[in-house]
């Protein structure tokens, strides 16, 4: 009865268990406990939330392992942490710490402008960002066990998250609708491996769980992404940059559970205090747009 660790099924399986849930960015053990109490299914351990990374500028790196370890100590739910795109040594360190999922994230400054991390080489699963079907399938080919459609992090503006989830959905519809003999050309245009394109065609969906992330600030934003087909939600700055993080966190969790029930959405949206201040995407200079990192 030998046990096999780090199989695709085990890696993708944890993401399956997070479906219908909310993963919250936290920077301290106290915030992690608030997130767990609010009903988060996992937390993302960070040194700074995206809004603060954006404000601070400079090179954003993996968080201090001491912060991540303290957060892992504080809660019983899974703890994720971010490594820079292509920085496989940061990922090795996160695996050694025992984090439950590694996010190879465009929120941090990329370490490699051509290659992402070879995620098959790790026992711990990875989640990666994507803006369309081709990008999602390239990340899955590299070993990502979960996908996160990108928004524009740290803006409190949901428009980019909507754009990219719709783009992934449109890509899937195209693959499903086109005749099978066109798949090699479709795969070439997507820049994705043919076997993954054929798998999407057979199943009618991505082969891994797909959460939505980036700019989600309200229960209505979260339910919008769920109705558009997300399996769950990442909330970055939206919870702990708001006036009352615990109330907002609880409201977003309930909105994700009852995302098709406008009466519940109306109820949980009441009296939350101010949301995080938002940013207009067109006000960002091109080099400030995190979503364009990753290839």
């Amino acid at each position: 009865m030998a046990a096999e660790q780090g199989t695709l099924r085990v890696k993708r399986g944890l993401a399956e268990m997070l479906k219908g849930g909310v993963i919250m960015d936290v920077t301290t053990p106290e915030q992690a406990i608030i997130a767990e109490r609010a009903g988060a299914v996992a937390v993302m351990a960070l040194e700074r939330v995206p809004a603060d990374i954006r404000a601070a500028g400079g090179v954003a790196r993996m968080a201090d392992p001491a912060i991540i370890a303290a957060i892992m100590e504080a809660v019983t739910i899974p703890v994720m942490a971010k490594a820079r795109i292509g920085h496989f040594v940061e990922a090795q360190i996160l695996e050694a710490l025992g984090v439950d999922y590694i996010d190879e994230s465009e929120v941090l400054t990329p370490a490699d402008e051509a290659h992402h991390i070879d995620k098959h080489a790790f026992t711990v699963p990875f989640v990666c960002g994507a803006r369309d079907l081709g990008e999602a399938l390239r990340r899955i080919a590299e070993g990502a066990a979960m996908v996160r459609t990108k928004g524009e992090p740290g803006t409190g503006n949901v428009v980019e998250a909507v754009r990219h989830l719709r783009a992934v959905n449109a890509g899937i519809r195209r693959v499903v609708a086109a005749p099978e003999e066109e798949m090699p050309t479709v795969a070439k245009e997507l820049g994705a491996p043919l076997e993954l394109v054929l798998l999407v065609r057979r199943e009618g969906r991505l082969p891994v769980v797909n959460f939505s992330a980036g700019g989600i600030a309200t229960p209505a934003d979260a339910a919008l992404m769920m109705q558009l087909g997300a399996d769950g939600i990442f909330v970055g700055s939206g919870v702990f940059k708001s006036k009352d993080p615990e109330a907002r966190g609880r409201a977003i969790v309930r909105a994700v559970t009852h995302y098709r029930d406008p009466a519940v959405l109306a109820e949980v949206s009441k009296d939350l205090g101010e949301a995080m201040p938002g940013l207009e995407i067109s006000a960002l200079r091109p080099e400030e747009r995190m979503q364009e990192r990753g290839w």
């Binding site: 009865m1 099924r9 009903g39 969790v253 309930r254």
Partner: protein, 202 residues
């Protein structure tokens, strides 16, 4: 005469709901995603799926499921987080739970995700062939009461148990194509023998 297939509810607050619905549909049962306590009225059996037990427990408490299921007497199947929520005792935790089975469980008992695994289990009630079991940050049953029947162990630890028509698994039968455990659960319902064999079973 054709028997009406049983209607199996899967608690749909968070977690691996889709996989259980699909597995029971492949077994020939009717399924209901249970979002509200009102949805319990028409179901012959209920499944509490895997997910995060703290999140599901809080939502069950808030949306009235702990109260609605307090005297539940229809068949009930908990997998992973569902097992934790069915247990009377959870080591080092005061999290909300149903507590309908006489079990004491240890959460995240095999370690974190890095230590999660799959393995072949011997499950005598499912026949001779091994059952491929996927354990994800899984719990195990540290102590089972006198009325509990142990159905499988892994490395000596109890990972599958039954108390009357309540069934609890530490692993995820919904993540593989092997439907034997779902069928076994349906066999706890009175009219299961009438179920047709599903054509797509591998």
């Amino acid at each position: 005469m054709v028997a009406t297939p049983p209607r199996v509810g899967v608690l749909d607050l968070q977690g691996a709901v889709r996989e259980h619905l699909r597995a029971f549909e492949r077994c020939g049962a009717l399924t209901v995603a249970v979002k509200r306590t009102q949805d319990l009225a028409g179901v012959d059996a209920l499944v509490i799926p895997g997910g995060e037990s703290t999140a599901i427990g809080r939502l069950m408490q808030e949306y009235g499921f702990l109260a609605a299921l307090a005297g539940w007497d229809r068949p009930l199947f908990g997998t992973c987080a569902g097992l934790i929520l069915l247990a009377r005792q959870i080591n080092d935790s005061s999290q909300p739970r149903l507590g309908l089975m006489d079990l004491r469980v240890e959460r995240n008992a095999f370690g974190r995700q890095r230590e999660s695994f799959e393995a072949d289990l011997e499950v005598p009630v499912l026949g001779e062939a091994a059952f491929r079991a996927v354990f994800i940050r899984a719990p195990y049953i540290q102590e089972a009461g006198a009325g509990v029947q142990v159905l499988a162990r892994f490395e000596g630890k109890i990972v599958l148990a039954r108390q009357g028509a309540f069934l609890a698994a530490a692993f995820h039968p919904e993540l593989t194509d092997d439907l034997r455990l779902h069928r076994y659960f349906l066999s706890l319902l009175p009219w299961c023998q009438q179920l047709p064999d599903s054509p797509d079973e591998s």
